[in-house]
C-alpha cells in the first residue's frame, strides 16, 4: 500500500514537472498590459535625451519597459497588417516609433494625447519601442 501511494505521488509530481517544463518552453511573451513601466517619459523629452547622449540613453533604457506620452504624428501599417504609431517629438526626422501588439485599436489622429507602453529596442531613424499597448488616450 505504501509503495502504491509512493508511485501515485511520483506520477503526480512527474505530471506537474512535465507541465511546468512544457509551459516554460512554449510560453509566449508576457502581455505588456500586465507589466509595470520602468520609466515614464514625454516623447519630445525622450528623443532629446537620445540626441544629447545616445550611449548613455541606450544603457539606461535598453530592454526596459517605458511609458511614452505624446500626440500622434502618424499611424502606419505594414504589408502584414502590423500597426506602428509614431509619437510627435518636435523633430522633423525623429519620433517615437511604437510597434503595436496585434489587436490594438488604431488611435484617432489629431490633438489627442496618448500614453503607450512598450519595450525600448534601439534608435534607428526613430526611438523605437516594440510590443506596445495603448495605456490611455485623452483630449
Amino acid at each position: 500500500m505504501k509503495n502504491f501511494l509512493r508511485l501515485i505521488l511520483a506520477i503526480i509530481l512527474l505530471v506537474i514537472a512535465g507541465f511546468g517544463v512544457y509551459r516554460y518552453l512554449w510560453r509566449t511573451n508576457d502581455p505588456m498590459n500586465g507589466q509595470k513601466a520602468d520609466y515614464r517619459v514625454l516623447a519630445h523629452e525622450w528623443v532629446e535625451e537620445f540626441k544629447i547622449n545616445e550611449q548613455a540613453a541606450n544603457q539606461k533604457y535598453l530592454g526596459r519597459i517605458v511609458e511614452a506620452k505624446g500626440v500622434v504624428r502618424e499611424v502606419l501599417r505594414d504589408s502584414l497588417g502590423g500597426m506602428s504609431v509614431i509619437l510627435e517629438s518636435g523633430d522633423a526626422f525623429m519620433g517615437v516609433n511604437c510597434s503595436m501588439e496585434p489587436g490594438e485599436t488604431a488611435p484617432s489622429q489629431g490633438s489627442d494625447t496618448l500614453v503607450i507602453r512598450g519595450e525600448f529596442s534601439a534608435v534607428t531613424l526613430d526611438v523605437n519601442m516594440t510590443r506596445c499597448v495603448m495605456v490611455s488616450q485623452s483630449k
Partner: protein, 193 residues
C-alpha cells in the same frame, strides 16, 4: 551605435541624403520609411518554428543616386515563443551590446530612368552590412517597383551566421540553420510626406 562620434557620422550621412536636394536630378529624390518589414527564418533539420518578424526597419533611399541606408533594431524581432526570443537576443545577437543592424549600400548601375519604368525591375544592391558588430561587404539581388508614388524594394537573401560571429552551440545545431533566410519588404514614400 554606442560611440557618439558614430552617431554624429550617421546624422551627417542622413543629413547629406535628406537635405542636399539641390544637387539631385529629381524634384523629389529622397524617399524613406520607418516601418520596413524584415522577416527571417533559420530552421535547421529539426523543425522548431524558428522565425521572426520586425516592422521597425528605418530606411532612406536617394532616388537621385541610388544610395540606400537601412537600419533595424534587433530587439524588435518578435518570435512566437518567448524563450526563443530571449535566446536570440541574449545568446546569439547579443542585442544588449549590438542593438542595431545596418545596411549601407547602393543600387549598382543606378539611373533615375528605372523609376519611369512600369512593373517590377530586378536590381543588384552592393555595400556593407553590419550585424552583431561585424561589418562585411555584401552584394544581393532584389527588385524595385514604383507604385502609387511609392518605391517598393524587395529582397530575399541568406545570411551565414558564422560570417557575423554568431556561434551556434552544439546542443541546438540540429535546430538552427547555418544560413538564415532573410526577406526584406520596404515601401518608401517621399520624405516629408
Amino acid at each position: 551605435m554606442k560611440n557618439p562620434s558614430k552617431r554624429i557620422a550617421l546624422y551627417s550621412a542622413l543629413g547629406v541624403i535628406l537635405l542636399m536636394g539641390s544637387i539631385s536630378v529629381h524634384a523629389q529624390s529622397k524617399y524613406m520609411t520607418r516601418n520596413g518589414l524584415i522577416r527571417f527564418e533559420a530552421e535547421g533539420p529539426i523543425k522548431d518554428d524558428i522565425k521572426a518578424v520586425n516592422n521597425q526597419g528605418g530606411c532612406v533611399f536617394d532616388a537621385g543616386t541610388g544610395d540606400i541606408l537601412f537600419k533595424i533594431p534587433i530587439k524588435s524581432f518578435v518570435f512566437k515563443k518567448a524563450l526563443m526570443q530571449e535566446h536570440f537576443n541574449e545568446n546569439y545577437m547579443e542585442s544588449h551590446k549590438f542593438p542595431t543592424a545596418e545596411l549601407k549600400g547602393k543600387i549598382e548601375g543606378y539611373s533615375g530612368a528605372i523609376l519611369q519604368k512600369s512593373g517590377i525591375q530586378p536590381v543588384m544592391v552592393s555595400g556593407k552590412m553590419t550585424l552583431h558588430g561585424v561589418t562585411r561587404d555584401i552584394r544581393e539581388r532584389g527588385t524595385l517597383e514604383v507604385k502609387e508614388g511609392k518605391i517598393l524594394l524587395r529582397s530575399d537573401f541568406g545570411v551565414a551566421l558564422a560570417d557575423y560571429g554568431i556561434n551556434i552551440p552544439k546542443m541546438v545545431e540540429d535546430k538552427l540553420a547555418k544560413v538564415a533566410q532573410v526577406n526584406l519588404s520596404i515601401d518608401l514614400a517621399p520624405a516629408g510626406q
